[in-house]
Amino acid sequence: MARPTTLRPAERARRAAGGGQRSAPGVILVPALIALAFLLIPLGGLIIRAPWTHAWEILTRDDALDALRLSLWTTTLATGISIVLGVPLAWLLARTDLPGLRWVRALVTLPLVLPPVVGGVALLLAFGRNGLLGRYLDQWFGITLPFTPAAVIMAQTFVAMPFLIITVEGALRSADAGYEEAAATLGAGRLTVFRRVTLPLLAPSLIAGAVLCWARALGEFGATITFAGSFPGRTQTMPISVYYALESDPDAAILLSLVMLLVSVLVLVGLRDRWLRVGASS
């Protein structure tokens, strides 16, 4: 015997418009809500527990400002280096048939999945005072990289550059080569084509890749602490500073975390056209 239910007018209208039955059964709804709560409650906790009354005072203290300043300029420089070196590599991966390119691509994306601390150890072995290259840098030029701001930038570049490379490479692959052909028939050599046609058409993806790269560099912890250590004002970036402050000064830890949460939200908003719309339109 059919059991009737009540169909509210709004639901009636929605179904009439061809929406189909959209209410979720409990077996799906409950775990979905738990997942959502699991993701949101900790973030909410940060906001609730934050010492709002003297937030400004804590954030403008020297140690907090030092970490903030260090993080900003190192991540920006790491992003710049990633663009200068990563875009040409992305071009090479997307547009040439050099032998072994498949392997190069795999290696380039490796830092995406590699535990960052392993990256830090690897950097230490390569550029440490007794490292593969670091030994000669030390002997010949007197340059010591580990535990300096330069090491911070290297660690950040190591983990973040692949984000830029894969974003730009994907864009280069899907780009319409017709424009480049047209430019060539107009007398533009390969470099001019790259500079005046390929790069400008690539700009939106390049910006997205750079933002992604910058955000990843900002959050970098494992490789940095392994290769650059944690010297306040020199190598102690925001994430590292948060980690240490958690014991000595929880309020500062929470506030610094909030700053980074805010930055992440801004990045998401900035890239919404790129990602969020995909979910909305499909």
């Binding site: 017709g178 424009y179 060539a184 028939t185 107009l186 533009a188 050599g189 001019t192 046609v197 058409l201």
Partner: protein, 354 residues
Amino acid sequence: MNAGLDVQAVVRRGDFDLDIDVHAAPGEVLGVLGPNGSGKSTLLQAVAGLVPVAGGRIAVDGQVLDDAESGRFVEVAARPVGYVFQDYRLFPHLSVRDNVAFAPRARGAKRSLARQVAQSWLDRLGLGQFADRRPQDLSGGQAQRVALARALAGEPALLLLDEPLAALDARTRLEVQAELKRHLAEFAGPSLLVTHDPLEALVLADRLVVLEEGRAVQRGTPAEVARRPATAYVAALVGLNLYAGQAAGDHVELDGGGRFVVPDHGQVGSVLVALRPSAVVVGRHRLDEASVRNVWPARVRGLSLLADRVRLDVVGRPSALVDVTPAAVAELGIAVGQEVWLSAKALDLEVYPR
């Protein structure tokens, strides 16, 4: 040294190969007509250097651009070629002016000079007021003219046009076509115009090459091609009935069955016979008129309405496409399956060697 464009080349693309021999004189517009996949665009790409030849050579004004034997190859950017692409390929990130200034800039002109050159080309093509727009904000006809201006601004020795009007709607097309004809007439070098539209080829080209499956199947002036098509494809394009047969003086035995009485020019051997659909008369009864030498029975297989007439598809020995007025269809009560008599005057049959 040979002025103009000389192509005698084989171009391979996967399983397909284009084997062609064409010449275009300075100032001449050579139309390249053919169905999709016949190798028209491949020809343009080879001349522009976007694909290398597998055999033979390509030269412009005596300068060898590509030679398979010696290995000589001039890179795309160094070729004196202006290319108008079917989809125009105007750079979306540049203004109309900077699009047109692209070639002068790429060839080393200072920005201000390149912009002057661009502006003068835009003015010449009546596009002066669109200089600051983005290509996305242009109509199809305007974009087409900008593409032409951009190609001409590089002062090419040779112009390549790939289906230049294909992306336009029917009304704009006629307008732009007339204008394009004027600009092509002003261009001093040879032009290669690829199209699958016979009308476009007839109007714009001085001479035609018809390509089918990578081979040139017919060459000649548009009038010759339109009057004496060499293949079924060309005949269909220009709207003629075409029959192959064996001539014996005053008549032709058709390969597909049937025979035509033709004007006796003493022709013998393999010939083609072309017949205009409007030159065939349809009747319900056998026409008894001494002047009409060809009369044969047939059956109507289909009718389709063209702009101002009805085209009948009639099966017989031989079969034919026949154009009649809508009034005639009504008067004669023509319907599918109807038995009719067809007649054609010998004088309306164009007979020429195969």
